[in-house]
Amino acid sequence: MDTLSNFYNLIVLPRSGLEWTKRHENWMLLFFLFVWAQAAKLVSGMLLGTSVFKSPLFLNYGFPALIGLALVGWVVSVSILHFFATLLGGHGGIMKFFYLWGWSFFPFIFFPLFAFWVFEIADPFRFIMVVFFFFWLLFFRMEIIAVNYKIGIGRAFMVLASPFLLLLTLSLFVGIVFFLKVVLGL
């Protein structure tokens, strides 16, 4: 097995691909893929007419700003997910997780392929393709958490969902209190 063969595994057998990746750290390759993934996201976004490239951040500072933002997002995501993974009984190092989470951007390098070729050939199935891509990304990220913290896929899903559930609960609570206090004046 080598790096190139492992790409195949990462695509079709993410668990074994990520296990191999965990054992063979290659930061240079990761950084290269990270930049490529961000560029691919940007190009796909522009092709699909999303508003990413209209954001003041991109208009003022260009692609480096998006890289910077993604790096910040990387650090923040790792910190939050490490907290919840540990809380839910996972055991794994944060630095190793930081490295592995970098690979969560890996599916994005295929985004232009989806955005361009797949959509062009099968435009009526665009929704299905988007859903497929979303679930692939979700599954890939769950596998990263499962591999790093040695937990089951179900618990890995809970780790990913927990921050959103917490945010949703807090928002609902604040929203209800606000509605009762300000709108209804109770």
Binding site: M1, D2, L4, S5, F7, Y8, N9, I11, W36, A39, A40, V43, S44, M46, L47, L48, G49, I109, F110, P112, L113, A115, F116, W117, F119, E120, D123, R126, G175, F179, V183
Partner: protein, 304 residues
């Protein structure tokens, strides 16, 4: 076997990565070429050129307050919406959808100025009449590049009026006197506690006629119609859409879709165009959930 497996996986991985990279490069090339024109390139690749629809419903007036529940109102809302849609460089035309009996001069002229500014930047405006677009609403419509009305829409009412209620007789009957201390003889002109003097009526008539002249000028310039002809039609009478079409106050008979087609045609949009409608604020959307007011504003992008 292991070698075969490695070769197979390598070839598959390389092929997928290569295709992804080629798609990426092709995507960059398309973006660099700027295939953004309507009808060019791949259908999903470019951002569609858009026609914005703004509703001018109800009396047009400058609001005296901003409601926490409904956000800006009156002419301020229309101005906000115009500003919002014109921020989008893909918007090439605006359809003003009227269902309004008119409104105050100041409010109408505030919107009128914004329309002129946008027109100077090349944005095309089309007026679409629903049930009624009279008086101040027609003032605005006249500034549009094209007017579409239903045969039975009511329009016209080109003119200005001003009125004050007078309680003088009631106060006399009840024996109530109102003591007014004023700095000048006209300061309480229009007060409901006394009738206007002939001199005051003359002053207000001049004022009304000045606004009327502005209205007539606006229609004359907007419709490219001789002033004399506008004066003939500007006696306050109302017309149906069909008669207005014969008189030259309306360009075309049709509905909102006719107006959207006209907007596309005037702005040179070929093929599909997106239609945008101003979006409500998040807060308004939140309130609408509770109030069932989703008809107020959509934030949808539909296909024309």
């Amino acid at each position: 076997m292991i070698v075969y497996y490695d070769m197979k996986s390598r070839i598959t991985a390389v092929s997928i990565l290569l295709f992804s990279f080629l798609s990426f490069l092709l995507g960059i090339r398309i973006i660099m070429q700027g295939t953004g024109g309507a009808g060019k390139g791949l259908s999903f690749v470019r951002e569609k050129e858009k026609v914005a629809v703004i509703k001018v419903y109800g009396p047009i007036y400058v609001p005296d307050e901003t409601s926490l529940l409904t956000g800006t109102k009156g002419s301020d809302r229309i101005l906000d919406e115009l500003k919002w849609v014109l921020k989008d460089p893909a918007v090439k035309a605006v359809v003003l959808r009227f269902n309004s009996p008119g409104g105050s001069v100041g409010a109408v002229q505030e919107i009128f100025q914004e329309i002129d500014k946008a027109k100077a930047k090349g944005i095309k405006f089309v007026a679409s009449f629903g049930d009624v677009a009279a008086s101040g609403a027609y003032y605005l419509a006249a500034d549009c590049d094209w007017i579409v009305a239903n045969p039975g829409s009511l329009t016209g009412s080109i003119g200005v009026l001003m009125g004050f209620p007078s309680l003088e007789k009631i106060l006399d009957k009840w024996g109530i006197d109102m003591e007014i201390i004023k700095s000048g003889q006209y300061k309480d002109m229009g007060s409901m506690f006394r009738r206007l003097s002939p001199e005051e009526k003359g002053l207000l008539t001049n004022l009304v006629m000045d606004v009327y002249e502005q209205f007539v000028d606006a229609v004359s310039q907007g419709r490219k119609m001789p002033r004399e002809k506008v004066l003939e039609l500007a006696k306050g009478q109302i017309f149906t859409g069909r008669i207005a079409r014969e008189l030259g106050l309306v360009d075309e008979l049709g509905n909102i879709n006719t107006a959207l087609d006209a907007a596309k045609r005037l702005s040179g949009i070929e093929g599909e165009a997106g239609i945008i409608k101003p979006r409500a604020s998040s807060w308004e959307e939140f309130i609408m959930l509770f109030r069932g007011m989703e008809e107020k504003y959509g934030h949808i992008i539909e296909l024309l």
